[in-house]
């Protein structure tokens, strides 16, 4: 077995897995708190990549930024803008498409979610056109270092580290802060949390903000990594990320992150074995098998009630 190739593919899997994981977090957080499959989430991610593209081209960047300081500044700006804008978009979507339906039949918000997804796609398509567009890759995509003769790209390492940092930050936020506690308590029992003085609307809006901001971050990352985006990119990425969230145990943030990486490995693994054409089928087959054997996902809680 070629160790170098294996190492490279592992890095590839971790990189794409990190992107899935970032998107999956949004799915799982929203699901955890209002039990809604937010089908518009994939398109929030897509819009984030377009916002990045718009920002970088407006600032006049075409390609690699050599000066490390400028690079750091532009990167920070890109993440800040994409995450804030997408966070705000998430809050707006929640306010107008989901909140009025909070007590409606369960499937009603699912339909509006898909409606919102169409709306986002069409808006992006009207502004930036229906064809794929280039995103300036401000980090040198070829820069790499060698591990035992195998080139490892800095960009990949950057993405993996960044994603993990964001996930850790999220865990700390949810676990250690007052707002995080409010989120957790709302997720467990909305009415009880309300009685305890938690502002439900703010908490849910906050959840959407964070989830969408993470999707925005994933959008930036995707732009840097692939240098390309298209207005239909949200659907498939969203589907995979949602699968990741379920695979990990929906509602569980650690599970979502784990699920993202697992899907990255499944995809890259099927390519490694020469079954790229089947990778989608493999992902979903493994998902079905996992759920048959572990009905609540990899890290999902066992349910008290059984029917």
């Amino acid at each position: 077995m070629d160790f170098g190739l294996l190492l490279q593919q592992t890095i590839n899997a971790l990189t794409i897995g990190a992107i899935y994981a970032l998107i999956a977090l949004g799915y799982t957080m929203v699901y955890g708190i209002i039990e809604l499959i937010n089908f518009a989430h994939g398109d929030v991610f897509m819009t984030g990549s377009f916002v990045t593209m718009w920002l970088l081209t407006t600032l006049g960047f075409q390609g690699t930024i050599k000066d490390p300081l400028t690079l750091a500044g532009v990167l920070a700006l890109a993440f800040l803008v994409a995450m804030t804008v997408m966070g705000a978009v998430g809050v707006i979507i929640e306010r107008f498409a989901y909140r009025p339906l909070r007590n409606a039949p369960r499937l009603a918000p699912l339909i509006t979610a898909i409606g919102v997804s169409f709306i986002l796609q069409n808006i992006v398509q009207s502004i930036w056109g229906p064809s794929p567009v280039s995103v300036p890759q401000i980090i040198d995509v070829q820069a790499s270092f060698r591990v035992g003769g195998t080139p490892i790209r800095f960009l990949s390492i950057f993405i993996i580290v960044l994603a993990i940092a964001l996930m850790v930050a999220l865990q700390l936020f949810v676990g250690r802060t007052r707002l995080g506690r409010a989120m957790r308590s709302t997720a467990i029992d909305r009415e009880a949390a309300q009685l305890m003085g938690v502002d439900i609307n703010t908490t849910i809006a906050l959840t959407f903000f964070i989830g969408s901001a993470l999707a925005g971050a994933a959008g930036v990352v995707q732009g840097l990594y692939l240098g390309n985006t298209v207005f239909t990119a949200g659907f498939q990425a969203g589907l995979k990320a949602f699968t990741a969230a379920v695979l990990g145990g929906i509602g569980n943030t650690t599970g979502a992150a784990l699920g993202g990486f697992v899907i990255g490995f499944i995809e890259v693994g099927s390519t490694y074995l020469g079954y790229t054409r089947w990778s989608e089928a493999v992902v979903f087959t493994i998902l079905i098998l996992v759920l048959v054997f572990r009905p609540t996902g990899l890290l999902g809680q066992q349910l008290a009630e059984r029917a």
Binding site: V292, F293, R294, A304, E305, R306, A307
Partner: protein
Amino acid sequence: MSGASTPARPLVLRTIGLTKQFGGLVAVRDVDFEIPEGAIVSLIGPNGAGKTTMFNVIAGLSDPTSGLVEFLGQRMIARPERSWLEPVVWVVPAVVVWALSYAAWLAGLPLVLGQLLVLVGLGVLIATLITAVVRPPWYGLLLVRFGIFKSARPNEMVLAGIGRTFQNIRLFANMTALENVLVGMHGQLRANGLDAALRTARHNREEVQGRSEARRWLAYVGLRGREDELARNLPYGDQRRLEIARALASRPRLLLLDEPTAGMNPSETSTMTALFGKIRSELNLTILLIEHDMRVVMGVSDRVTVLDHGEKIAEGSPDEVRRDPRVIEAYLGKGSVA
């Protein structure tokens, strides 16, 4: 302490060493418990004593960690072991057939044979899957053989003769009272989808008879004339009654009532208590009652079992239990003991 009441009467239900753990928390610990036929037995205890957990295990809603439940002398529940193996059992026969088809291909046998075997394998897979879903008794035996036994499902408990109500009413809110009772009669009726689609004689007969029987059940609990109201539009007390009618419609031998008078005013409570007596005497039913209201418990029960922190601390007639020092201690400070 044990065998305090008349041993002549056969047991309807018996639990042996029943234990249920949630993570590190032991909700029920090693409880032996018996219900003789025709009795009204109450299960009491302070909040968090494990009453509802016990109830859910008996009703088949959750698997015990260890111990077993016998209903009418039949073993209903065993500890689930290696239940994740069950899906493996479904797939193995089909995989064996497919392996045969591959072997046939390798051996150079005619292609048609291999293809036929592939189809047979598919058929086997479908058959095993359907078997797993329908769960005929021999499938259960097979699971025991492989050490993959899973406990009885709630519906199997019902078919065996255990009916129940819920602590927080769980009616089918968007169905009418009559339909709720008809659902309760599910196990009594036999018409399947094909009967319904073709409107066979069986379907028509059962619908007519079922409806009139359902009406009688509603009338029995005092809901005459409310047949076509949506369950969610009924007043609270009537919803409780409807739940009982629905449970009775399954013609149980043992009726489990989970706090049936919770949230009722005294006059409603006394009507309800009267109903229990009527059910027992007229329908010859055994009743297991979880109740907070001590007046109800002491007034209606033949036997009382007291749980505290998941353990059985006392058992006997209401008077015996009332005087038991451990019971007084468990309830101390609450002033609940009348």
